[in-house]
């Protein structure tokens, strides 16, 4: 390599290494170190697995942890099922101006903050909200109905919040499927279902994988929607982390929780990549 090129390489490597090192890698290592220490006196600590033991022995923590994981998977599945037909419609059925405006319309809700979106659902779902009033007006119910503060409301909110991140990669991958390939499927005797199963879905796999991973991550790491829309029983794991850090000032336990969440998300993302036969590099670009 010429000297100039070498200098260029070093100059370009610096920002990357500083960023990844100081903001991603070292903080996580430090978080891990904090999570394996136990306070034994004022300003005195020792290495111990106490925080992880607490996590595994306290049912509330473990149950919340598992619940959060399962609900996030459920959210991802629902988002995929709802979003797929719409993405297919935008990518393959709609043409020209309709196609681009539908695609744009899909993006609009996500130009506004998640807080605003959640707030919208609160106005719709709460006891004095639109749905409740509407049902009363129809005469279907006698008094106000509270639809907020339960798991369903929370999942509705989570699905809504992550829809874009499912639809966009799906549209992009399915757009690249040539119409003639679908026509060839019909020409050779395929039915709607068999073409969907053998041609469209395999082709859309990279989009399905990247969409699912992002939606899963967003749900798992979400704090706002479960707090605002979920009820007393729908505690989210991020809420536990928040309360350990900010309310109880027990950073050691909070860091351990954070690490468990990180491990969980890594395992599930890895499993999703394996199931769909994709790699992280391929799905994220």
């Amino acid at each position: 390599m010429r000297a100039g090129a070498k200098l260029g390489l070093i100059l370009l490597l610096m920002p990357l290494l500083l960023w990844l090192g100081l903001l991603i890698i070292v903080p996580h290592i430090d978080m891990f170190l904090v999570s394996i220490r136990e306070r034994i006196g004022v300003g005195r600590y020792q290495i111990s697995p106490a925080n992880y033991l607490t996590f595994f022995t306290e049912p509330l923590y473990l149950v919340t942890f598992m619940r959060t994981a399962l609900m996030s998977i459920l959210t991802t599945a629902i988002t995929l099922v709802i979003g797929f037909p719409v993405a297919f419609y935008i990518a393959k059925v709609a043409k020209g101006r309709l196609q681009s405006s539908l695609f744009l319309l899909c993006l609009v809700p996500f130009w506004v903050s998640e807080l605003v979106r959640t707030f919208g659902w609160m106005i719709l779902l709460r006891e004095t909200g639109i749905f409740s009033s509407f049902l009363q007006w129809l005469g279907l119910v006698d008094g106000p109905v509270e639809m907020l503060y339960n798991d369903v409301a929370m999942i509705v909110g989570l699905v809504y919040t992550s829809m874009l991140f499912m639809v966009v990669p799906l549209v992009t991958t399915m757009e690249s499927l040539d119409d003639s390939v679908i026509e060839a499927g019909y020409d050779l005797g395929g039915s709607n279902l068999s073409i969907l199963r053998e041609i469209v879905i395999p082709h859309a796999m990279p989009g399905i994988a990247s969409g699912s991973i992002v939606v899963f991550m967003l749900s798992l790491g979400n704090y706002l929607t479960p707090t605002m829309l979920g009820g007393k029983d729908s505690l989210w794991f991020t809420e536990l982390i928040y309360s350990q850090f900010i309310v109880r000032f027990n950073w050691e336990l909070g860091a351990a929780f954070g690490f468990m969440l990180l491990i969980l998300s890594s395992i599930i993302v890895w499993a999703m990549l394996k199931v769909t036969g994709q790699t992280l590099e391929k799905t994220m670009t």
Binding site: P15, I24, V34, V93, E114, W121, G221, Y242
Partner: protein, 283 residues
């Protein structure tokens, strides 16, 4: 399926109805938020008590409008300040990253690329606490060892900027890389052939080509920073950005003031997005 394949009419209609329903679902929450910003009532809910601009311009209790509500305006200011810094920083680092991965082969390139993508699969709140933990370790170390109390390492605007920057950079890198990959390198070679130095060639040929991606990356970063909640929540100090300030109010109970702020946010970000689209189209 696709239009060239005849389908039973019923199926086509059901499909269309589904898509329409989907867009109603997308629009509904935003619509109600906007509509109730004009409700002449203390609560953003039915019954409708008439139209008012008070939640935007009102200056008398209890109906103080957005523009006269000092804490909200201050929070908006904070958000804009953070967003500008985060966008500028991440476009710079995103550009160097894009060039690095597009142009150079070096040891550990594959590993670094995966590491570069990693922030996308770290939950935002974990990113927040890891930076919080590390910065206070640093701050405590410096204070104990050197007696320096570095304000920037305690929760506050600088940490929020760093926290958001840590994952937005990945997204900006991907946006810029996508365009750089499409760049025809013979154009640069042509510039070299016509007497430009390597840096001049990049500056006069490659960067103008990348401009739409740089602007797009800036816009995306700006919006993401403005919207960010999870990472910010863990790093915020006394100067809360808008989302956090709104969150605190929402916990106490909502007034149409929040609807008014939300509507302004929607208009602002749609305007920015529209501007970006127009810019891309002009190119």
């Amino acid at each position: 399926m696709i239009p060239t394949i005849r389908q039973p009419l019923s199926l086509t209609l059901v499909y269309r109805a589904y898509v329409v329903l989907f867009f109603v679902y997308l629009a509904l929450p935003l619509l109600v938020v906007s509509v109730f910003a004009f409700n002449d009532s203390l609560f953003p809910s039915l019954p409708w008590k008439g139209f008012t601009w008070n939640w935007f311009f009102g200056d008398q209790r209890p109906m103080i409008g957005v523009f006269n509500e000092r804490p909200i305006m201050r929070a908006l200011n904070n958000s804009a300040f953070i967003a500008v810094f985060v966008s500028a920083l991440s476009v710079c680092v995103g550009t160097t990253n894009a060039f690095l991965f597009n142009r150079y082969n070096f040891p550990l390139r594959g590993l670094l690329y995966v590491l570069m993508l990693l922030p996308l699969v770290i939950p935002g709140i974990v990113l927040g606490i890891s930076i919080l933990v590390f910065s206070s370790t640093l701050a405590n170390g410096l204070e104990d060892g050197m007696g320096w109390d570095i304000y920037a390492l305690r929760p506050g605007l600088p940490l929020v900027i760093l926290g958001q920057f840590s994952f937005i950079t990945t997204i900006v890198t991907l946006v810029i890389s996508a365009r750089l990959q499409k760049f025809d390198r013979t154009l640069e070679e042509a510039a070299l052939n016509l007497g430009a130095g390597p840096l001049t060639a990049v500056r006069t040929v490659t960067i103008p080509y990348l401009l739409p991606a740089l602007v797009g990356g800036f816009g995306v970063a700006f919006l993401m920073s403005f919207e960010n909640f999870n990472t910010t929540l863990m790093l915020v100090g006394s100067d809360a950005p808008l989302t956090i300030a709104m969150f605190d109010r929402l916990k106490e109970g909502s007034t149409p003031l929040l609807n008014a702020v939300s509507l302004l946010l929607m208009l602002g970000s749609s305007g920015l997005a529209l501007l970006m689209i127009l810019f891309q189209r002009k190119r």
